[in-house]
């Protein structure tokens, strides 16, 4: 996986060159000007050398200067990527500490190297580079991988918390620091209110995505995850907006007499900037989605178009002084996702951390104990205040409130990251004579939060969750607990999710009627289960199932009776080993939180588990159909393993026809969260084979099972498209598995490609497919 990332570097390299060249052009802000003089030297040396060798053509020459900047930048990024690979190879590490720890260390290392060798022209970042090139990919990527549905369900709380939280933190920290500065003893009295406020705004820019990876290991619940995610997403945008507004203020008034009118104007501007940015982003997102509808034949262009549109939205918003970050976030949300994004954002982030590392190891610090310590203290205090106060209020309105434990976790996950550093770094020196102090303080806060909080949050989360259940459980309990978890997960899926149902209803209606038709193209790539079957050839799958699962026929009663008497002989070690077997082999309950974030893309175990379950089910289905059972659960003894558990429903009533044909036909079934199985975007080749595979299963259903009315639906209906649409549309959903299940089991559902064909094709299909079916049944019979 890391290798792949490396391979994809080549397009990124060119982009990097651009950045790097700008780097070299930019006037060094903080670094000494010895660079320029040092730069003259080797030039002179080369000049001298070349003047000597004027008559002869140098056979072997060294021109390091020419490639220096891109060379070094590439080396750093390579180094960081290698470090990341190593980081992930050791499986437990990502759960222990956030990845930004690693990046910071690498950055510091590079900085140390540069400092130690007293290198000329270390990298310099100026605000245009940051805002134009480095920041958009990071934000874009955050927006793409956002799980849309839970985000919008919690959007009230998220907006309330992220927006107000950022504001409270910023102003709180700024004001308290200002008060501290007033104390003459600390020698800080030249730092005025505006500067403090600005510092507050930049230091409150939290980057908790780093901790999300840690959360994954600890299985925090979904709303909590969403809060942190939403905060990470919106926080950058909000702090940057605030930062810019305050910078404008600072530039306007050198003194501290700011009139209330200005403050009001500032607030209004804040709102306009925010909302305008989002608006822009959404529009661009729609345009881009519309265009990508036509690019199915030139799929190489797609990522480019997507990226360009997002970037364009950013730039356009910035032109109008609207918030580009929020624009790009909104744009990303409205578009589909691409893997390409992760690469760019990783590169961006790495660069920023390198800059950070470089400035850490350097002479550019001003250490003021009071300021730094109080900054740290106030950061924590104000975050605590904002968390508890805001959540107290929002809990009144939420259907399921956040517990105190959740709030503690949210408080503790206030890890600062690259964002704050960049903003601090870019403070204009002219307005901020004490800029170095700010930078130092920011660095200290970042290091503290990332390392100390980042590393300890994992154990903390686990401790808070697991506190109660430390005792050893009997095998019984383990099994039953797991069963109940599965049961609960199943029922939750049956229920779907709902909240603010009415509003979402209406939005979905609108979405389906108009947006989907316009924006989603007709032929989507094949879904995941089909590729699953492609992956395991049918025969192999059957073999695996047969040897693994079907190897035992049902137990006959006499065997059972024998066993009863022999049960006393189990020793404690046996019990222990049994418990181990159970714990390690029982299927995991489907994760509700999506386990991809910035740092990892695919979990392997759930994929394997889902495969097994699906194969098993597929097999039992086939068997039950073969036997012509209309009731798949018969008496257990003497029959093959019939796996359906009876759902204790009440008296089955005769079917009641519901004359009202109301709105949604299956939209909400897409709400259910899926196991985070991500299959790569597949090629559309091999569709014939896939179709064969899928339809092999389908006609089995149409084998008459008693007098049961066939649910085969011949006429195409629009709900098919809508039905699949949600699966595609969700910005985050990875090739929904459930769509695949549809193809498998739903007798009437045709795959996407089919839907474009006429209905008469259906009748042609069962014939060849049935042959397949028959060809396979001898295999089974042989056993």
């Amino acid at each position: 996986m890391g290798l792949r990332r490396l391979v994809l570097f080549s397009p990124g390299n060119w982009w990097l060159l651009l950045v790097a060249l700008k780097c070299s052009e930019a006037s060094p802000d903080l670094n000494e000007s010895t660079n320029s003089s040092a730069q003259q030297e080797p030039n002179a040396w080369f000049a001298a050398a070349s003047s000597e060798a004027d008559e002869k053509i140098p056979v072997f020459a060294l021109d390091y200067d020419y490639v220096q900047i891109p060379y070094e930048v590439t080396l750093w990024i390579l180094l960081a990527s290698l470090a990341k690979i190593g980081f992930h190879l050791y499986h437990r590490l990502p759960g222990l500490m956030p990845e930004s720890c690693l990046l910071i260390i690498v950055g510091a290392l590079v900085g140390a190297i540069i400092f130690g060798t007293d290198h000329k022209s270390p990298p310099v970042m100026d605000s245009s580079i940051y805002f134009l090139y480095l920041l958009p990919p990071i934000v874009l990527e955050g927006g793409y991988f956002m799980p849309t549905r839970p985000f919008f369900e919690n959007i009230g709380s998220i907006l309330w918390w992220a927006g107000l939280g950022a504001l409270i933190n910023a102003f709180g920290i700024g004001l308290s620091l200002y008060l501290i500065c007033q104390i003459k003893a600390f020698g800080l009295s030249d730092v005025n209110l505006l500067q403090n406020l600005l510092f507050g705004s930049l230091i409150s820019a939290v980057d908790p995505v780093a901790v999300l990876a840690v959360f994954e290991e600890a299985h925090v619940n979904e709303p909590l995850y969403m809060m942190i995610f939403g905060e990470a997403l919106l926080n950058d945008g909000i702090s940057v907006v605030l930062y810019n507004i305050l910078i404008a203020f600072t530039k306007m008034h050198k003194f501290e007499d700011i009139e209330p009118v200005d403050i009001l104007a500032g607030c209004a501007r804040f709102i306009i900037v925010g909302v305008g940015g989002v608006f822009f982003g959404v529009i661009f997102g729609f345009i881009s989605a519309f265009i990508t509808r036509f690019t199915q034949n030139i799929s190489a262009i797609e990522p480019l178009i997507v990226f360009m549109f997002s970037y364009l939205s950013y730039l356009a918003a910035e032109t109008l002084y609207l918030s580009g970050i929020l624009a790009i976030t909104a744009c990303a949300v409205t578009m589909k996702k691409y893997y390409f994004m992760k690469m760019l954002s990783s590169v961006s982030e790495t660069l920023i951390f390198i800059f950070m590392g470089v400035s850490t190891i350097g002479k550019n610090h001003e250490w003021n104990w009071a300021f730094i310590c109080f900054t740290l203290v106030f950061c924590q205090i104000w975050r605590a205040i904002s968390v508890f106060a805001l959540f107290y209020v929002s809990n009144q309105f939420r259907t399921f409130p956040f517990s105190i434990k959740d709030q503690c976790i949210i408080f503790y996950s206030g890890v600062r990251g690259a964002g704050s550093f960049s903003l601090a770094f870019l403070l204009p020196l002219s307005l901020f004579p004490r800029k170095k102090m700010f930078v130092t303080a920011t660095l200290v806060v970042i290091y503290f939060t990332v390392f100390i909080q980042g590393i300890t949050i994992g154990p903390l989360v686990r401790y808070l969750d697991v506190k109660k259940t430390n005792k050893k459980e009997s095998i019984n309990e383990e099994l039953h607990i797991r069963l109940m978890d599965h049961l609960k997960a199943g029922i939750e899926d049956v229920c779907g999710q709902w909240s603010h149902y009415q509003v979402r209803d209406k939005f979905k209606k609108f979405d389906h009627r108009y947006l989907r038709k316009i924006l989603i193209r007709k032929n989507q790539p094949k879904s995941s289960i089909v590729s699953l079957y492609k992956k395991l050839e049918m025969k192999q799958a059957i073999e695996m199932v047969e040897t693994g699962i079907l190897s035992s026929t049902a137990f006959s009663v006499p065997q059972q009776a024998q066993r009863i008497h022999g049960t006393k002989r189990l020793s404690p070690e046996d019990v222990e080993s049994m418990r181990d077997i159970l714990t390690h082999n029982m299927y995991q309950v489907r994760q509700r939180t999506l386990s991809y974030n910035k740092y990892n893309l695919r979990p392997q175990t759930s994929e394997k588990q889902a495969k097994e379950i699906l194969i098993r089910r597929q097999n039992t289905l086939r068997e039950s159909m073969r036997k012509g059972h209309s009731l798949p659960w018969g008496k257990p003894a003497g029959t093959k393993n019939i796996r359906y558990l009876s759902f204790p429903y009440g008296h089955p009533q005769p079917a009641r026809r519901d004359p009202r044909a109301a709105g949604f036909t299956g939209n909400d079934s897409s709400d259910s969260e899926l196991p985070s199985i991500m299959f790569k975007a597949h090629s559309r080749t091999g569709t014939l084979q896939e179709r064969r595979l899928t339809h092999e299963i389908i006609p089995m259903k149409s084998l008459p099972s008693g007098g049961k009315p066939c649910h085969v639906r011949y006429p195409r209906h629009t709900s098919q498209e809508e039905h699949v649409g949600p699966g595609r549309r969700e910005a985050l959903r990875p090739k929904p598995l459930f769509h695949a299940v549809d193809e498998e089991f739903e007798s009437g559902e045709e795959s996407e490609e089919e839907s474009s064909a006429s209905g008469s094709r259906w009748s042609a299909e069962p014939r060849p497919s049935r042959q397949h079916h028959r060809s396979h049944s001898p295999l089974l019979q042989r056993k």
Partner: protein, 189 residues
């Protein structure tokens, strides 16, 4: 808001269902919408097909277990009622003559018990336990291991030595477990 009222009136037997299961009006309405959404052909009941469309159910090892039974709306609600969070009222205040609410601990346990007891004879035999085990465990566990685990499970819970686990034994083996929390879904409140 007016439309909500008319919706509620459209649920057949809405009042009696509400009384029986204890759902609030709003929740019942949501369940009704969900039922209608799942019931793709507007048959008025849910078949196995409908439930299997819920993708995550497909990879739920317990299977969706409806089979060919038709689940109508009252049945649907009744099942889901088991998963309502337990009301925190003072148990003394409840009218003892009324039947236990569907989401009481006992009823939740009974529901879980029925998942094991496939032939509905009121006991979980070793065979049934084995079947459930097989569902829940990956393919790499051998059959002998599964058998011995099933043996052990039954043995642990079985107190009267009949080789099967009755409902009371089942409940007893889980007395330390927080069933109310495990089998409650918050949104069903």
């Amino acid at each position: 808001m007016g439309s909500r009222g008319s919706h509620a009136a459209r649920i057949p037997d809405g009042d009696s269902i509400r009384r029986e299961t204890g759902f609030s009006q709003a929740s019942l309405l949501r369940l009704y919408h969900r039922f209608r959404a799942l019931d793709r052909n507007k048959k008025g009941y849910l078949s196995r097909m409908d439930l299997q469309q819920i993708g995550a159910l497909a990879v739920n090892p317990l299977g969706c277990g409806v089979g060919n039974l038709r689940v109508d709306f009252p049945g649907f609600v009744r099942v889901l009622a088991h998963f309502r969070p337990v009301d925190d009222e003072d148990p003394g205040m409840r009218d003892p003559k009324e039947p236990e609410p569907l989401n009481s601990r006992m009823n939740k346990l009974r529901f879980a018990f029925q998942l094991y007891d496939l032939d509905r004879d009121g006991k979980i035999s070793r065979h049934e336990m084995l079947q459930v085990l097989r569902l829940m465990v990956g393919v790499q566990v051998t059959e002998e291991q599964l058998e011995s685990i099933a043996d052990r499970t039954v043995q642990e819970a079985d107190e009267d030595g009949d080789g099967a686990v009755s409902f009371l034994e089942f409940a007893k083996s889980l007395e330390k477990m927080d069933i109310e929390q495990k089998m409650s879904i918050r949104i069903l409140k």
